[in-house]
C-alpha cells in the first residue's frame, strides 16, 4: 500500500532521491514458477540441440552400429565416415566452392547494397526500397527458368559467375533491408556537422557514416554469408560439376549411394559445422540482423 500512495504523488516524490522510493523489483513469482521455468528451459534446449547431437553421433558410427538400436549411445567412435566424405567424395572442393560463392556474393552485395541502403534511408526512397525488397518475396523458381535460358545461351551455366550473381540476388535485398534500418537509427547530426566542417556529402558518408556502420555491415555481411552458404535451389539448377556447392553435394549423396547413413550424416555435419562456428562467434550480430526492423512501428 505504501508503494501505491507514493506513486499517486509523483511530483512531491520527484525531488526525493530515488533510494527512498525504490522501484519495486519484481518478485519473479513463486518457487513453483521458478522450478517450472527451469524445467521448461531445459526442455527447449533439449528439443533444439538433441537432433543435432544425434546427427553428430551417427556421423561417428559405422553403418552397422547405426542399424543396431542397442548402440544408440554406446559405441566405438570412428572417423571413417569423415575420411570417406572428405577424401573420396572430394568434399574439399565443394567446401571451397561454397565458401568462394558465399564470400564473393556477400562482398559484391555489400559494395552495391550499402550505398543504396544509405540513399534509401536518408532520402526516404520507400518506393525504391520496395523494388529491392520485392526480391525477397518472389519465388526463386520463377526467376530460374529465364536465368537458365539466358545464362545457358551465354555459356555461363556451370561457372562461378552465374552462381555468384544468383546468390547476390538473395544477399542484396537482405543487406539493403538490414542496412536501411541501421542507417535509420544513426543520427543525422554527425554527418551534418562534418559537412559544416567542410566535408562534401559523399565525403561525410565515407569518412563519418561508413566507419560508424561497421557493426551494421558486419551484421548484414554475416547473415548474407550464411544465407548464401545454405542456399540450395539456385545452385541445384545453376551449378555444374566443377562449381557444385555443399548443399547440392549432400543432396547428390543420397541419389548415388543407397543411403550410406554414416557418410550422409558426416557430410551433413561438415556443412553445418563451419556455419555454426561462425554463428557462435558472431551471435550478437546474427541476432541483431534477424530482428532488424522488427520492432519499429
Amino acid at each position: 500500500m505504501t508503494v501505491v500512495s507514493e506513486n499517486t504523488e509523483p511530483q512531491t516524490v520527484a525531488a526525493v532521491p530515488a533510494k527512498i522510493a525504490p522501484r519495486p523489483r519484481k518478485p519473479l513469482g513463486s518457487r513453483a514458477y521458478k522450478v517450472f521455468r527451469v524445467a521448461a528451459l531445459v526442455a527447449v534446449v533439449l528439443f533444439l540441440i538433441a537432433p543435432l547431437f544425434w546427427m553428430l553421433l551417427a556421423s561417428l558410427k559405422t553403418n552397422v552400429d547405426i542399424y543396431d538400436t542397442g548402440k544408440s549411445f554406446l559405441f566405438t567412435p570412428t572417423f571413417e565416415n569423415y575420411a570417406n566424405v572428405l577424401q573420396r567424395n572430394n568434399y574439399f572442393v565443394f567446401i571451397f566452392n561454397s565458401f568462394w560463392v558465399a564470400f564473393v556474393s556477400t562482398a559484391l552485395s555489400l559494395v552495391l547494397g550499402v550505398p543504396a541502403a544509405y540513399a534509401m534511408s536518408r532520402f526516404t526512397m520507400h518506393r525504391s526500397a520496395l523494388v529491392v525488397l520485392m526480391a525477397r518475396v518472389i519465388p526463386g523458381v520463377s526467376l530460374l527458368v529465364p536465368w537458365y535460358y539466358v545464362f545457358s545461351n551465354l555459356k555461363m551455366v556451370g561457372g562461378f559467375e552465374v552462381l555468384i550473381l544468383s546468390h547476390m540476388f538473395v544477399s542484396l535485398p537482405l543487406i539493403v533491408y538490414i542496412m536501411m534500418s541501421y542507417f535509420d537509427s544513426l543520427p543525422l547530426e554527425l554527418e551534418e556537422s562534418a559537412q559544416v566542417d567542410g566535408l562534401t556529402p559523399i565525403g561525410a558518408f565515407r569518412r563519418i557514416t561508413l566507419p560508424l556502420s561497421v557493426a551494421g555491415m558486419a551484421t548484414a555481411g554475416i547473415l548474407s554469408f550464411i544465407f548464401s552458404w545454405n542456399n540450395f535451389m539456385f545452385a541445384l539448377v545453376l551449378s555444374g560439376s566443377k562449381t557444385k556447392t555443399l548443399p547440392v553435394a549432400i543432396f547428390d549423396f543420397v541419389s548415388y549411394a543407397s543411403i550410406d547413413w554414416g557418410g550422409l550424416m558426416a557430410a551433413a555435419t561438415v556443412v553445418t559445422i563451419p556455419i555454426m562456428i561462425i554463428a557462435l562467434f558472431t551471435q550478437k550480430y546474427i541476432v541483431s540482423g534477424m530482428t532488424a526492423g522488427a520492432t519499429k512501428g
Binding site: 533444439l48 536518408r122 542484396l172 554463428a279 530482428t291 520492432t295
Partner: protein, 322 residues
Amino acid sequence: MSVLTTPRSAQTQPPSGRKGARTPGARENFSGWANRHRKWLFAAPAMIFVGVLIVFPLGWTLYLSLTDSQGSVRAASEFVGVQNYLTVLSDVERFWPAVGRTLSFTGVALVCEVVLGMCIALLLWRPFRGEKWVRVAILLPLVATPVAVGMMWRLIFDPNIGFVNQLLGMVGIPAQPWLSGQDTALGTTIFMDVWQWTPMVVLILLAGLTSLSEEPDEAARMDGANAFQRFFFITLPLMMPTVIVAILLRGIDALKTFDILYATKGKGGGSFHEVETLNVYAYGLSFDYNQYGLSSAVLILFFMIIIGSMWLLTMRKKAVSK
C-alpha cells in the same frame, strides 16, 4: 518533391561557394556532380541489378505463361492466351492439392511457431543464469543448412532405425511411418520447419518484448492482475505489431519452403505427391518435366497468393498499430 529541387538549387548556386577557393578542375566538377546526384548515384547500381534480375525474368515468366512452351525454352512456342491458366485452375489432381498443402503447411507451421515462439520468448524475457547457453541453443537450428537438416531428420524419423520410433517403442507406442507415410509426411515436414524456424520467431518477439515499456505491466500488477491477465490484456496487445512482423517474415519464407521438402521427399514431393507444395510443383514442372508454359502459369498464380497474403497482413498491421 523537396528532394527533386535540391540538385537544381545546388546548380544555380554561384561558384563562389565552398569550392570557390580552388580552381574548379575536372575532378572538382565530377565531385560536385557526384555530390549533387548522390541519391541516385548510390541507389541506382543496386536497383538496376535487382531490376534486371527481377523485372526481366518476371516479364518473361508472364510471357511464357501465355505460350505452350515446353521441352526446351529455345524450342518454338505458340501464343495460347489464357489456356495454361484454364488448364491449371481446372487441375484438381496436382494444382489444387498443392495449393491446399502450401496453405496448410504455412498455416500450421506459423501457428505453431508463433505460439511456441511466444512461450519461449516469455521464458527468456527476464534475465537468468545460463542465459547465454540457451541463446546459443536457439541460434544453432536457425543457421543450420536446411538440406543438411532435412537429411538429419530423415535419419531420426526413419521408420526402422530412427530415434523417434525407438523412443516411442520404449513407451509402447507402435512405430510410425513418419516421412514415408502418405498421411504423416506433410505433418512431419511441418515439424521440421517448426524446429528450424521457431528460434527466429523467438528472436523477433524477444526484441519486441525487451523494447516494451514496463509501466503498463507494472500498473496492471498494482491493480492486482494476475500473470495471465497481464499477458492477454497488456503484453499481447502491445506486442501485436511485432507478432505481425514475425508472421510476415516467417510467412513469406514458409510459403516458399523448398529445401527441406525436396531434400526429404525428392522430386514431385514423394511418390504420392504427399508434400508437393506450389513451389515444389512449379520446380518439378520447370526442371523435371520442362513444361515451361504450365509452370509459369502456376508461378504467376503462386506469386499472386504470396502478394495477396502479404497485403492482408500489412493491412492488419496498420490497423493494429493505430
